[in-house]
Assembly symmetry: C2
Homo-oligomer: 338 residues x 2
């Protein structure tokens, strides 16, 4: 049994009573100290400390009609790429005293809608969304709310409000052309499910388009789509190798998949890139470390989060944002697997 109902959390009123001043004076002492006489302020601060007073941000939020919370909707928390975007966001927001609240969707636009609704009910001051694929209801709610909103990770033609990202399609095309130029053929593709995941969809499209314009045909049996984790990458590689053993290079739409694919190739004693070449996408930590080192495409993930956070802070400070759609670009990284 624990004594939890003992003493309630101290309130502003108690601090005020003990200091012999009105509640408003306490608010001022804590919030805009220069408006309060030195002696009074010191007395109040001492009492607040002694009681362990912490302001109730719920109440403040209600009074000010702003909570200081920003909601971020992301597909997964288990993905280090996403985690870095979140880190960038969090850092940028923290600098302006906003706090981040994160919700995960598992790549479902319906789940995203639910999270957005929940965030709006919590009266967040702004919202970050992953990608540009949303339900109409999500878009309607956000438009109606009038809150600052950034769509991150892909470029939006018609952003709900603002966007920061890069072209997954162009980037994937770049990798594909590299593989084609080096003479690999036929090319295989392993990617995440494109449903409600525009980054994956665009990467596949970019890959296929590049192949087509190089005169290479890419039929469906060369493309495997699957969950976004390492074992799934390995299974997809197994499927692809069983189905089309002649495949000479595989483009994976995420490093996590590429690493799984590499392990599967190693289990089959295939030399990389001698027997089969592999290219990834993201440049996770592991890409530079794995042996052989993974050829991949680096995307400025921390930067995406940071920029998004800054755009949100600008808006919340009442300023206009210059580049409502920001392209942060990408960088091809040639290593040893292709």
């Amino acid at each position: 049994m624990n004594n939890r109902s003992k003493r309630a959390r101290p309130r502003l009123t108690e601090v005020a009573t003990l200091a012999g001043v009105s509640r408003m004076t306490v608010t001022r002492a804590l919030h805009s100290p220069h408006q309060v006489a030195d002696a009074t302020r010191r007395k109040i601060q001492k009492i607040a400390n002694r009681l362990g007073y912490t302001p109730d941000l719920t109440a403040r939020g209600l009074a000010l009609q702003r909570t200081g919370l920003v909601g971020a909707v992301v597909p997964l928390l288990t993905n280090s790429l996403i985690a870095e975007i979140v880190q960038g966001l969090s850092d940028a927001l923290q600098r302006h005293d906003y706090q981040l609240v994160v919700g995960a969707t598992g790549f479902s636009a319906r789940a995203e809608e639910v999270k957005v609704r929940a965030f709006l009910s919590r009266r967040v001051d702004a919202i970050y969304l992953t990608g540009i694929t949303h339900t109409v209801e999500t878009i309607r709610m956000l438009r109606q709310s009038g809150l600052p909103c950034v769509e991150g990770g892909n470029l939006a033609r018609q952003p709900i409000d603002m966007a920061v990202g890069y072209s997954s399609r162009d980037a994937a095309g770049k990798v594909a052309r590299y593989l084609i130029e080096r003479g690999y053929a036929p090319l295989g593709y392993i990617g995440a499910w494109p449903k409600d995941n525009d980054r994956a969809r665009d990467r596949r499209r970019g890959f296929v388009a590049a192949c087509r314009s190089a005169g290479l045909s890419v039929d469906d049996s060369l493309c495997v789509e699957t969950d976004l984790d390492l074992p799934a990458g390995a299974r997809a590689m197994a499927t692809l190798l069983d189905r089309r053993p002649e495949v000479r290079a595989v483009f994976c739409s995420a490093d996590t998949l590429a690493v799984g694919a590499m392990f599967e190739a190693q289990r089959r004693h295939l030399a990389i890139p001698g027997d089969v070449a592999i290219a990834g996408f993201d440049d996770l930590d592991i890409a530079a470390q794995i042996v052989p080192a993974l050829t991949t495409l680096r995307v400025p993930r921390y930067e995406i989060g940071r920029r998004a956070g800054e755009m949100i802070c600008e808006r919340l400070a009442g300023r206009e944002v210059a580049n409502a759609v920001t392209d942060v670009g990408y960088e091809f990284v040639a290593r040893d697997t292709a």
Copy 2:
């Protein structure tokens, strides 16, 4: 310029006015429908839908003195082990309509204290902490708040309130004894910084204790401590191999470090486990996939989060929790690297 100040979010009052009833009736219609006449309820619901009314949880939280939020303080978001704990927590809480808010500390007890204070100010209904190492002020605040609190990931002798985890020390000892029995010597250790990280500290202790009781000495030059990421694991392995080339097996206090170490060994063309054996800790996805497959120790990470969430829900439902300190155990997984 966008028309965000146009129409404010609809409030309860507006729904009430349009429906021609009092605000209280609207609250009832939405919250306990059976208390309201069918016709009235239907009318209210129609109007609420038409307006896109969403209740203000800030205001509700203030009125009810409970926010429906649970705060979780974790060291990192970029770690998939932690992400799974968070997932377990989130799932368990969601089932009872609580929402999770996450904060990261970067393995700093001071940063943890700041997060806890912030959560208390946000009036969360309960708190999850990682590990059992906290500042005295953190402990004092939580005790005084009387909120349900679970410390996860390690077993607490004297929990602040409740705890769920396993003994890192015993588990590390188990791995060490396995390496010793197989005749590897000398043994090296690569671990995360022990500062403010009791799991890392206990793993090192368990490892060293097992070596000692087997009559093996472990001097400091055989132990390398570093950041908890993959490149750091590789660098630590390089350091260890340069310093003590005769090392025959290395225990890594996390799979992330072990994988980095394996890559470093591979770059040096060392056979695993022929030239150097490696054992990890966590059993991440990659452990089973990497070639050769990593010998490691599986900890029920999702289960830790889920149990913690359930304990919190029990408490919040006003029930007593039977096992305030729960040991979820661990499982040694012998694979090919040791």
